[in-house]
C-alpha cells in the first residue's frame, strides 16, 4: 500500500480534542418518532408579554425525557403544511399531556397561529419525542444555562427534578432581558440564578452572563464527578455560554447544546 508523506503523523498534526460523538442519553423509539398523533389544545397560559404556554392532551403520548423536543405540524385546508421543532416544557410525569412554551415570533407562520388564533379544543399534530442527545434522565448533576425561551427544555428538567424529589445537584442560570420577560419566573427556587441583560430589579446588576457567574459553579460549587452542562438559546447566546463554560474548565464533551436556528 502506497503511503504519502503527509500520511505519517507529523508534529503539530491536529488531534481532535474529544470524541464528541458521545451516545445520546437515551435510545429514541423510532416508531414513536415516525408517528403523527393528534394533540388537542386544552389550555393557554400567558407567561410573559411575548411568550405563552400551550397545554395539549395527547392520549397516545409514549412519554419523553426532560430536554427532548417534538415536531409539530399545522395543516391548511388546501393541504399546505408547516412543521417546526419545539422543546417540551412539561415533565414526563405529566402523563398524557405535553406543554410547549412558544415565543410570538415576528411574522411567525406557526407561532403566529398559536398566539392569535389558537384556543382550547383546537387540534394540531405532533410526532416525537425526538433526539435523546439533549435529554437528561435525572441521573447526573446538571448545570443548565438558558436564555429567553431557551429555558423551555431546561424547565422540563427542573420540574422532573422536583416531582421526583431528586437529590442530584441541579443548577440553572437563566438569562432574560428583564424581569417581565423571565419565563416561568414564579416557579424558580434556590437552584436558579436569573441574569438580566437590560433591566433588573433594584439592587440586581444588569449585564450579560459572565465568567463571574459561571466560574464559581465549576470551582467551589462543582459536585463530585462534575457537571453535565446543558446550554439552550439563540446561537449567539449558545456560543457565548459554551465559551464561558470551556474557559471555566468544563470539558467540551460534557457540554450539550440546543441552538435555536
Amino acid at each position: 500500500m502506497t503511503r504519502t508523506t503527509s500520511d505519517t503523523t507529523a508534529p503539530g498534526l491536529f488531534v481532535p480534542p474529544t470524541r464528541f460523538a458521545v451516545p445520546g442519553r437515551i435510545a429514541v423509539s423510532n416508531r414513536e418518532a415516525a408517528r403523527w398523533q393528534t394533540a388537542t389544545l386544552t389550555e393557554v397560559r400567558r407567561e410573559t408579554p411575548h411568550a405563552s404556554t400551550f397545554r395539549f392532551a395527547v392520549p397516545g403520548w409514549a412519554g419523553h425525557l426532560p430536554g427532548q423536543h417534538l415536531m409539530l405540524r399545522l395543516t391548511a385546508d388546501d393541504g399546505y403544511t408547516a412543521q417546526r421543532h419545539y422543546s417540551i416544557a412539561s415533565p414526563p410525569e405529566d402523563a398524557g399531556h405535553i406543554e410547549l412554551t412558544l415565543d410570538h415570533v415576528e411574522g411567525g407562520e406557526v407561532s403566529g397561529w398559536f398566539h392569535t388564533l389558537a384556543k382550547p379544543g383546537d387540534e394540531v399534530e405532533v410526532r416525537g419525542p425526538l433526539s435523546g442527545f439533549f435529554a437528561w434522565p435525572g441521573d447526573r448533576p446538571a448545570l443548565l444555562i438558558g436564555a429567553g425561551s431557551g429555558v423551555v427544555p431546561l424547565m422540563s428538567m427542573i420540574r422532573h427534578h422536583r416531582m421526583r424529589s431528586l437529590t442530584v445537584p441541579l443548577r440553572l442560570l437563566v438569562s432574560a432581558r428583564g424581569p417581565e420577560e423571565l419565563i416561568y419566573a414564579r416557579e424558580y427556587g434556590a437552584e436558579t440564578t436569573p441574569v438580566f441583560t437590560r433591566r433588573a430589579p433594584e439592587g440586581v446588576p444588569v449585564g450579560r452572563l459572565s465568567a463571574s457567574q459561571v466560574a464559581p459553579l465549576l470551582a467551589a460549587e462543582q459536585p463530585p464527578g462534575g457537571w453535565e452542562a446543558y446550554v439552550c438559546g439563540s446561537n449567539t447566546f449558545a456560543e457565548h455560554a459554551s465559551r464561558l463554560l470551556v474557559a471555566a474548565g468544563q470539558p467540551v464533551d460534557r457540554i450539550r447544546i440546543e441552538r435555536f436556528g
Partner: protein, 201 residues
C-alpha cells in the same frame, strides 16, 4: 388530512426547489450544532480518507487547496424544515480526493467524521459524481467557524446534518454504520425530496 382550524400559512410561493415540509429561510442561515464550536485554524485542519481505499492519505490545508477548485451554487435543506436558496460555496469536489485515495470495489458507504468527533454516515454513491465537496468558502468569503469553517463537507442534495462541519475525514466501509444523529433517531440517508427525516420515514 387533519386541517388546523384557521391556519392558512404563508402565501404559497410556486417554488419547485422547495422539498415537501420545508420553508424558505430567506437570508437567515440558522446554526444548528450540538457541540461547542472548535477553535480550528487552517493550520490545524487536515482531511483524511481511509478505510477501504487503495491509497489512504491525509491532506493538509495547502495540499487540499492545490487540488482543482470546484464551486457549488444551489440550495440547501435542513431537517428542522428550513431551506436556503441560491447559496454559493467554494472548495474542491470530493471526487478529486477520492480519485487520489482510490476506493476499493467493495466500498459502499462512508462515515464522515469531524475534528470534534461528530460523525455521519453516507452511501458512497451520494459522495461521488460531482455531488459532494469539501467547502471552505461561503459567498466568496472564508467559511465562518460556526458554519463549519475552516472546512466542512457539503452534500447539498441531502439534509444538511450530513454535511459534517469541521470535516476531518471519511472512512470507507462495505456496510452502513449510523453516525451521531442517526444513532439519535434520524434517517440513515436523509433525502429531503422523500422527507427522510427520522428513522422509519
Amino acid at each position: 388530512m387533519n386541517v388546523t382550524r384557521g391556519f392558512t400559512g404563508r402565501p404559497r410561493v410556486q417554488n419547485a426547489g422547495l422539498p415537501p415540509g420545508q420553508y424558505d429561510a430567506g437570508d437567515d442561515w440558522p446554526v444548528l450544532s450540538a457541540e461547542v464550536t472548535p477553535d480550528l485554524t487552517p493550520a490545524d485542519w487536515s482531511f483524511r480518507i481511509d478505510g477501504l481505499v487503495a491509497a489512504p492519505r491525509t491532506w493538509d490545508w495547502a495540499e487540499a487547496h492545490a487540488l482543482p477548485a470546484s464551486a457549488y451554487e444551489g440550495d440547501i435543506h435542513c431537517v428542522t424544515s428550513w431551506s436556503k436558496f441560491g447559496v454559493r460555496f467554494g472548495g474542491v469536489s470530493l471526487d478529486a480526493f477520492l480519485e487520489a485515495a482510490r476506493p476499493d470495489a467493495s466500498a459502499t458507504h462512508a462515515v464522515a467524521y469531524s475534528h470534534t468527533g461528530y460523525t455521519t454516515n453516507l452511501p458512497l454513491a451520494d459522495l461521488t459524481g460531482g455531488r459532494a465537496w469539501i467547502a471552505w468558502e461561503y459567498e466568496g468569503q472564508p467559511l465562518p467557524a460556526e458554519h463549519g469553517g475552516p472546512a466542512r463537507l457539503l452534500v447539498p442534495h441531502l439534509y444538511f446534518w450530513k454535511s459534517a462541519k469541521w470535516i476531518a475525514g471519511l472512512r470507507l466501509l462495505d456496510h452502513d454504520e449510523p453516525g451521531f444523529w442517526e444513532q439519535n433517531g434520524y434517517h440513515a440517508r436523509g433525502n429531503p425530496w422523500e422527507e427522510q427525516r427520522y428513522s422509519g420515514d
